[in-house]
C-alpha cells in the first residue's frame, strides 16, 4: 500500500484525526516509560504521520513498544487519546499485512496472540517459549529468573485453556 493510502487509513481510523490537535509539546514522550526503547517517541511519531512519512512510521518499533500505561493520555494538554492512536497504528499494520521490519515487542505480541488463538487463554511459559525461538538470546538471559520462579512454583507448564478450544478457534478465526 502506498504512503498516501496508509496516511489516509490512519486519519480515517478511530480516533486517527485527533492527532491534528497535537501541538508537539512532548508531554507524551517525556511521560512515556518506554521512550528510551522506541525508535521514535509518540511526539516524533505524530510529526512523521502528519508529514506523511508512513514508511518510517510502520517500520518503527514505537507502537509495539507501547505498554498501554495511559500516562500520555492522562497528561496530554490537548486531550489526545495517545494510547488509542498506538492501538490504531498496530491494527493498520496488522490488517493491511504490510511487511515491516521485525522488532522484539511485535514478536512478543505475536507470541501472546498465538497462545490465545490456540487455547482461548494464555500461558506465560508458552509465550516465553515461543518468543525465545525467535530471540534465543533474550530467552537464555531470562533463564535465571525463570529458575527462581520455578522454585517458587510460579511457572505453569500445563496449557491453560477454555473448555473447548476447538469451538473457540472456530468462532475466533472468522473475526476480522
Amino acid at each position: 500500500m502506498d504512503k498516501e493510502n496508509l496516511q489516509h487509513l490512519f486519519f480515517e481510523s478511530e480516533p486517527g484525526k485527533e492527532i491534528r490537535k497535537c501541538i508537539q509539546c512532548g508531554t507524551c514522550s517525556s511521560s512515556c516509560p518506554m521512550t528510551d526503547a522506541m525508535d521514535f517517541g509518540p511526539r516524533s511519531l505524530f510529526a512523521l504521520i502528519r508529514d506523511g512519512d508512513m514508511e518510517a512510521v510502520i517500520n518503527s518499533n514505537s507502537p509495539w513498544m507501547c505498554v498501554s500505561c495511559y500516562q500520555c493520555t492522562s497528561r496530554c494538554p490537548q486531550e489526545i487519546p495517545v494510547t488509542e492512536l498506538m492501538y490504531s497504528l498496530k491494527r493498520i499494520i496488522t490488517q493491511t499485512k504490510e511487511k515491516t521490519q521485525s522488532n522484539k515487542a511485535k514478536d512478543l505480541h505475536r507470541s501472546f496472540s498465538s497462545s490465545l488463538k490456540l487455547f482461548g487463554r494464555v500461558t506465560e511459559s508458552f509465550i516465553m517459549a515461543k518468543y525465545s525461538l525467535k530471540h534465543p538470546l533474550t530467552g537464555l538471559s531470562s533463564i535465571p529468573l525463570a529458575v527462581q520462579l520455578t522454585k517458587k512454583k510460579r511457572v505453569e507448564l500445563k496449557m491453560q485453556k477454555v473448555g473447548s478450544p476447538f469451538k473457540f478457534r472456530r468462532s475466533f478465526k472468522h473475526l476480522r
Binding site: P33, M34, D36, A37, P63, W64, M65, V67, S68, C69, Y70, Q71, T73, S74, P81, T83, M86, Y87, K90, R91, T94, Q95, K104, A105, D107, L108, H109, F112, S113, L116, G120, R121, V122, T123, E124, M128, Y131, H135, T138, S141, S142, L145, Q148, L149, K152, K153, R154, V155, E156, Q160, V162, G163, K167, F168, R170, S171, F172, H174, L175, R176
Partner: protein
C-alpha cells in the same frame, strides 16, 4: 455476598494472589463465583490486531456471566480490569458492535443482552464489607508498619483524572483506617514495564529501581500491589543487582496478615523477596 469473578490468565500462577484472595473473601463473607469457561480478555494485545476480535473476547465472557445471572463482574488484575471495562463501554454504546459480537457468539449458543459493569475486587473488599469485622482487628501499634501502595497503571488510568490519576489516595486511606502507616512516594502509578519488561529487561530494571529505591527512602516495610503483572515485575526485578529489596505483596496478603489468617493460607512463600522481616515485625507488635 456473591459476585461473578473473572480471574484472568495470570491469577493462578501469581504469587499467592489466589490463595490470599480466597482466604480474605471467606473471612469477609464474599463468595467469588468463577465465570465458567471464561476466556482471555486479550489484554493489551488483541486490541492492536482487530477491534472486532477484542470485543468478541470480552463479549464471550460477558455473555457467560449474564447466563449465570450476573451483570457485575469482578477481577483482580489491572489489565483485565481496563480491557474489560473499555469493551463494556464500547459494547453498550454501539449497537452495531454488540450485534457483530452476538453474531459470532451464536455459534456457541451465547448472547449478550445486558449492560455489564466491571469492578476491581479491591473496590468491593474496601467499600462493601461490614466495618465491624475490620474494627475487631484494629491495633494502634500498626502505625509502625510502613506500607507503600503501588497501583501501577490501568487501575486509575485511563479512568480517573487530575491528581486521582497520578497520585491516588484510595488504598492509603483504607489502610490508614485500619491503623497502618501509608508512606507517601512518587511512584504510585509509575509503570512496572508491563508486557514490555521481558523484551526490554534493562528498562524494566530501571523502572523497578525507581519504585523500590523511592519507597526505601520512605522506610517502607512492604510494597502493596493490586495486579499480578505489577507484582511479578516489581518482585522479580528487585532480585537484580543494585536494586533495593522490599517485600512486594498483594493487598490481599497484607489484609490476611491483618486478620491474622494462617500464613500457609496466604501463599507468602511464593514471593521472591522474602516477606519474613514484615511478618516478624507484625507478629511482634504490642497493642498500644
Amino acid at each position: 455476598m456473591k459476585y461473578a469473578f473473572f480471574p484472568g490468565c495470570a491469577h493462578d500462577t501469581s504469587a499467592g494472589y489466589k490463595e490470599s484472595l480466597d482466604a480474605v473473601c471467606s473471612k469477609l463473607d464474599i463468595e467469588l463465583l468463577e465465570i465458567p469457561d471464561w476466556n482471555c480478555c486479550g489484554a493489551t494485545i488483541t486490541a492492536g490486531e482487530s477491534k472486532t476480535s477484542s470485543l468478541y473476547l470480552a463479549a464471550r465472557s460477558f455473555a457467560l456471566s449474564e447466563k449465570m445471572g450476573y451483570t457485575q463482574i469482578l477481577t483482580g488484575c489491572n489489565a483485565c480490569y481496563t480491557t474489560l471495562k473499555k469493551s463494556a463501554k464500547y459494547l453498550s454504546s454501539d449497537k452495531h458492535r454488540l450485534e457483530a459480537a452476538n453474531k459470532h457468539l451464536a455459534s456457541e449458543g451465547l448472547e449478550l443482552t445486558k449492560e455489564i459493569t466491571i469492578q476491581h475486587v479491591m473496590d468491593i473488599i474496601f467499600d462493601k464489607t461490614p466495618k465491624p469485622i475490620w474494627d475487631s482487628y484494629k491495633n494502634n501499634a500498626l502505625q509502625n508498619i510502613n506500607i507503600a501502595c503501588y497501583y501501577g497503571c490501568q487501575y486509575t488510568r485511563p479512568w480517573l483524572t487530575g491528581p486521582q490519576s497520578d497520585r491516588p489516595e484510595y488504598i492509603e486511606n483504607f489502610l490508614t483506617g485500619l491503623g497502618f502507616n501509608a508512606v507517601n512516594h512518587s511512584a504510585k502509578t509509575l509503570c512496572c514495564g508491563a508486557a514490555g519488561a521481558m523484551p526490554n529487561a534493562d528498562i524494566a530494571k530501571k523502572l523497578v529501581a525507581r519504585i523500590a529505591d523511592g519507597v526505601k527512602k520512605e522506610s517502607a516495610d512492604a510494597i502493596v500491589t493490586i495486579c499480578p503483572l505489577c507484582q511479578l515485575n516489581v518482585d522479580m526485578y528487585q532480585t537484580q543487582p543494585d536494586i533495593e529489596q522490599i517485600p512486594t505483596l498483594f493487598f490481599t496478603q497484607l489484609l490476611g496478615l491483618y486478620f491474622k489468617i494462617d500464613l500457609e493460607n496466604l501463599g507468602l512463600d511464593k514471593l521472591l523477596i522474602s516477606p519474613e522481616p514484615l511478618i516478624e515485625k507484625m507478629q511482634n507488635l504490642k497493642s498500644a
